[in-house]
């Protein structure tokens, strides 16, 4: 039985279909003569409302709409990693081969390469009883990623037939499972609806940080594997740059990068750069662990809405294999705007600023798909979501930022004033926060240094004090402050420029190991303590500045290579020498 309807009306990407009693909510459909892909997003009486993932130009009333009789799904199989897809998982490289440099409508493309043979190693044997998630085979998908072939959700039974290790395409049957409902064929490929979270056994408390090599994040506002973070910021504050840095350097196994309604050139840049960059951990190309989803701002708006779900479903699939996945969504505001646009076309009652009333629940449903979980196959995996938010007018009180804030536990607020000063990353240390500090303290203390969290707290307090003093300085200048307060300003400057500012284009500074981050803090605090003893003796603080010791400490980030961090200790000696000399020369004067 085929479910077919006829178009009754067309309004941009939204079409109404009549005579379609068999259409089900969220079913995938093919609309019109060009068979454009769409999804059922509402059903009223005899009419289905369909959003079309391509431009509806040239469509006619009365054309046929055919239901695929299954929910809007993605294809999950080897061949995903290293690829670049549009919002509904159509490979852009194949589209290029078919339609050239500009994307045509109504292209019929395979989501994943069906002819490629993968070298599959069979792990299970006949007679094994299997349940969803069980790993029965594996194949090296890229040099860095071993793709696990799992029993799809919902399949319980006994393997009645299994193939030999060898080369298979994603559509070949490699095993048969006898279940209560009959024999189920297991292929390399499986499908999963994008709007339904893939099942797992249960959540595990977060306990490990996602190490990003970015000092302000790792040290000040750490993010946990399986956590959620938002990066809000007006244009030009470096959202995308920060996302790129995280995608490049974070210690996840798999990166899913979604360019959702953003610039085309940015995706081109990611593709170019990631292909040429080498992952410091594995020595492979960064693209060998990355999948890109590019639905740029000029591509159809409905597919932009879907791109976030496509991305998270791919992420869940790799999590099920036991990998730690980090997902960057740039930007969730564009996704929210896509929701608003579709909602407007449906003439729904708007809530704040025209956004639909279900914006908060959609956002929370999305962020809740992150987490550190125990999978059905007993492995552990995680999804960390880092969503960029583009608040209108840089105003954080707008609905998307405010609602996002309710569901994420780390908040990296980008600040336009810092960006104007070219302080990058422009993460404001006064308004940002991470709720993971408590959960991760133990890890930092056990794996890096037991003083790590104490040092972090001291530096943050110092910056808070600087902010307060700056209020006074703005009014009366810094000259009138007592020396101990001037010292706070000086050391805070060292923290800001030497520690918080990080140069993404500098070979050494772009990624900093945690140990070095700790040692840098250590030196700065040492400098502070030592300088306090100088100030206590009523020696003018300008004498310290003149020695250039501040600049030396600031330059540690450039001058100490990441593989020779032991040399940082030498700076303490240097501080001793410089400050002792000041003390000594002043002794003489006093006598």
């Amino acid at each position: 039985m085929q479910a077919v309807g006829k178009i009754r009306s067309i309004n941009g990407p939204v079409i109404h279909v009549e005579d379609c009693r068999d259409f089900k909510m969220h079913d995938q459909v093919f609309a019109g003569e060009l068979r454009l892909i769409g999804e059922v997003i509402g059903i009223e009486d005899d009419t289905a409302i369909v959003q079309v993932y391509e431009d509806t130009l040239g469509m006619k009333v009365g054309e046929e709409v055919v239901s695929a009789q299954r929910p809007m799904s993605v294809l999950l199989a080897p061949g995903i990693i290293g690829g670049i897809f549009d919002g509904i998982e159509r490979p852009l490289k194949v589209i290029e081969n078919q339609s050239g440099s500009f994307i045509d409508r109504g292209l019929q493309v395979d989501l994943l390469d069906k002819s490629k043979k993968w070298s599959v190693q069979i792990l299970a044997k006949k007679g094994d009883s299997v349940s969803p998630g069980a790993i029965i085979a594996q194949t090296p998908e890229t040099p860095g990623v071993m793709h696990k072939i799992m029993i799809p959700p919902g399949v319980f039974g006994t393997i009645s037939e299994i193939a030999q290790s060898g080369d298979y395409t994603i559509d070949e049957v490699i095993a048969k499972v006898e279940t209560e409902k009959g024999i189920v064929d297991i292929k390399l490929a499986q499908q999963w609806p994008i709007r339904i979270p893939r099942p797992h056994r249960g959540r595990v408390n977060v306990k490990r940080p996602l190490i990003t090599g970015q000092r302000v994040i790792d040290t000040f506002f750490p993010l946990a594997k399986g956590g959620t973070a938002a990066i809000p910021g007006g244009f030009g504050t470096g959202k995308t740059m920060t996302q790129h840095q995280l995608a490049k350097w974070s210690d996840a196994d798999i990166i899913v990068y979604i360019g959702c309604g953003e610039r085309g050139n940015e995706m081109t840049q990611v593709l170019e750069e990631f292909t040429s960059l080498v992952d410091p951990k594995s020595g492979n190309s960064l693209m060998d662990r990355t999948v890109l989803i590019a639905n740029t701002s000029n591509m159809p708006v409905a597919a932009r809405e879907a791109s976030i779900y496509t991305g998270i479903t791919l992420a869940e699939y790799y999590r099920d294999m036991g990998y730690h996945v980090a997902m960057m969504a740039d930007s969730t505001s564009r996704w929210a705007e896509a929701l608003r646009e579709i909602s407007g076309r449906l003439e729904e009652m708007p809530a704040e600023e025209g956004f639909p009333a279900y914006l908060p629940s959609s956002l929370s449903a999305f962020y809740e798909r992150a987490g550190y979980v125990k999978n059905n196959n007993e492995t552990e995996g995680s999804i960390t979501i880092i969503g960029a938010v583009s608040p209108q007018g840089g105003d954080f009180s707008e609905p998307v930022t405010q609602n996002t804030k309710r569901f994420v536990r780390a908040f990296f607020a980008l600040d336009r004033q810092l960006a104007y000063r070219r302080h990058y990353p422009a993460i404001n240390w006064l308004t940002s926060y991470s709720e993971y500090v408590g959960e991760l303290s133990l890890w930092y203390e056990e794996n890096i240094d037991e003083r790590f969290m104490e040092y972090r707290a001291r530096l943050l307090a110092l910056l808070q004090e600087e902010a307060k003093l700056n209020e006074i300085v703005k009014l009366i200048g810094s000259d009138v402050l007592p020396d101990d307060q001037k010292l706070v300003l000086d050391i805070a400057r060292v923290v800001r420029t030497g520690f918080l500012q990080q140069n993404a284009y500098h070979q050494t500074d772009t990624y900093v190991p945690l140990k070095k981050q700790f040692l840098m803090m250590d030196v700065i605090i040492y400098l502070y303590e030592k300088a306090k003893t100088v100030v206590a003796k009523n020696i003018p603080i300008s004498q310290i500045a003149k020695t250039g010791i501040y600049e030396d400490v600031i330059a540690i980030k450039y001058n100490i290579d990441n593989d020779s961090i032991d040399k940082i200790e030498e700076y303490k000696q240097k501080i001793d020498n410089v400050l002792n000399e000041i003390l000594a020369s002043n002794e003489v004067v006093m006598r």
């Binding site: 045509d104 050139n265 081109t268 740029t296 007018g393 070219r422 300085v473």
Partner: protein, 461 residues
């Protein structure tokens, strides 16, 4: 398809509603003949079983419910393109208005274009020298970039755009293959003739294609104008390998037109009454800038927009800033102190410049010099606000240097003549001269090797 449909169901603003038309397709063009016999163009923007909504580009004045006939054209809005378009002037929907007759089209292209595949894009890297220090030095324009000018009413954005158009130069041999597409949306007659005269005087008119939708032209056409201009630009760039600079002015009028049409369709408004799809709509214009791996040419856009009430957080500049690759912001207070071009450096930015400057592109010291100028000038702002409280005399010596640096930077670096064309060498050298006002230790953003090369120890001013 020559069937004519008689009569209208209703008329509202620039929209008319007809009975259902058999075989009508979404986004198709229609021709509407009025009682008096004149013919207007329109586009189907909503299609249903029992009615059809058509947007009439030239407005609905004089239309009646009865004696109006409508004919389907069976195609979307198309523009006939050819290389002959260079040197010609068209109206907002691509009809010649210079009295030189029609253009013989080599091809008819859908003005809505198609999205560029991100995989097929070439990442832009080559810079365009504009001869303007504040742009070349600090917000470098890259071929294939979209870099808007955020201006206000009464600021010299037109002069600046004109100067860029006249002086823009590409470093390699392709220099001769340069064209300008000028697109006016809702600008006053004077502005359009200013540009036309400017192009004529500088002798580049035969390399310019002009699309003019003036302030008194129909609002409905205004939506089509930038799309026609970009279709022509894409054709020249990707079929004829030309480097095309597209000047779009004024994007604010465009967005207002969009709002007008949206509200006459009874759409649910979002911020400040603009339609919820303003972002997507602007993106469908701006994203048509770029380069392709499969062609030699490029489309570079300089959209100009006037910020209502000089407010950069207004939806139009705000959404534009999120799409474009940077922005050049003009500032009223600078202009009033006699500085031209009044480029406000701190909020200005070119996102693509990092990959298109430095060794092999401009000069090895360019990234560091630009970075230092930004950082130092931002310090100047702090010092100035301090000085306004405690008085200049009370400032420390270093801070006094900053004040001096600040005014030299504004008067000598940013400010330049309306016909002054500085090459990149000159701009960078000027930057160094001004940086030398500051003590050497303040130049912390500059690599020590570069510093030694351009500011040797002992040469402190």
């Amino acid at each position: 398809m020559n069937i004519e449909y008689l009569g209208l169901k209703s008329i509202s603003g620039s929209l008319v509603v007809l009975d259902a038309i058999e075989d009508a397709t979404f986004s198709e063009m229609v021709q509407i003949k009025t009682e008096s016999g004149d013919v207007r163009d329109g586009k189907i923007i909503q299609l249903a079983k029992n009615y059809t909504v058509v947007q009439v580009f030239e407005g609905t004045q004089g239309l009646s419910k009865t004696n109006t006939s409508t004919r389907l054209l069976g195609r979307p809005m198309e523009l006939g393109v050819s290389k002959e378009m260079l040197g010609r002037v068209f109206d907002g929907v691509g009809r010649p208005i210079d009295g030189l007759g029609r253009v013989f089209a080599e091809e008819y292209l859908d003005v809505n274009g198609k999205p560029m595949n991100p995989v097929s894009r070439e990442y832009p890297r080559d810079y365009i020298q504009t001869g303007i220090s504040s742009i070349d030095g600090l917000t470098t324009l890259i071929r294939g970039q979209k870099l808007p000018i955020f201006s206000g009413n009464g600021l010299p954005h037109n002069e600046l755009a004109m100067q860029i158009a006249q002086q823009a130069k590409i470093k390699d041999a392709d220099g001769g293959n340069f064209a300008i597409v000028f697109c006016a949306m809702g600008v006053p007659n004077d502005v359009a003739s200013y540009f036309r005269r400017g192009f004529e005087e500088s002798g580049v008119l035969e390399r310019v294609v002009m699309f003019l939708n003036l302030a008194n032209d129909p609002v409905g056409e205004r939506i089509i104008t930038p799309r026609c201009a970009l279709t022509a630009a894409e054709y020249l760039a990707f079929r004829h390998d030309m480097h095309v600079l597209v000047i779009l002015t004024d994007m604010t009028s465009y967005a207002e037109a969009l709002r007008e049409i949206s509200s006459s369709q009874n759409e649910i408004p979002s911020r400040k009454g603009y339609p919820g799809y303003l972002y997507s709509d602007l993106a469908s214009i701006y994203e048509r800038a770029g380069m392709l791996k499969s062609a030699k040419g490029s489309v570079t856009q300089i959209p100009i927009l006037t910020m209502p009430n000089d407010d950069i957080t207004h939806p139009i500049p705000d959404l534009t800033g999120y799409i474009t690759e940077g922005q050049i912001v003009l500032e009223r207070s600078l202009y009033q102190t006699g500085i031209y071009p009044p480029v406000s450096i701190l909020p200005s930015l070119s996102r693509l410049m990092k990959d298109g400057i430095g060794e092999g592109y401009t000069r090895d010291d360019h990234p560091d010099t630009a970075n230092q100028l930004f950082a130092s000038y931002s310090r100047v702002q702090e010092v100035r606000s301090l000085a306004s409280v405690i008085g200049e005399d009370e400032l420390s010596d270093t801070d006094k240097c900053y004040l001096e640096f600040g005014s030299a930077f504004e008067k000598e670096f940013i400010s330049q003549g309306r016909e002054e064309n500085r090459d990149i060498e000159k701009t960078l050298n000027l930057g160094w001269e001004i940086l030398k006002i500051l003590p050497r230790k303040e130049l912390s953003r500059i690599d020590t090797k570069i510093l030694a090369k351009y500011y040797p120890v002992g040469s402190e001013g």
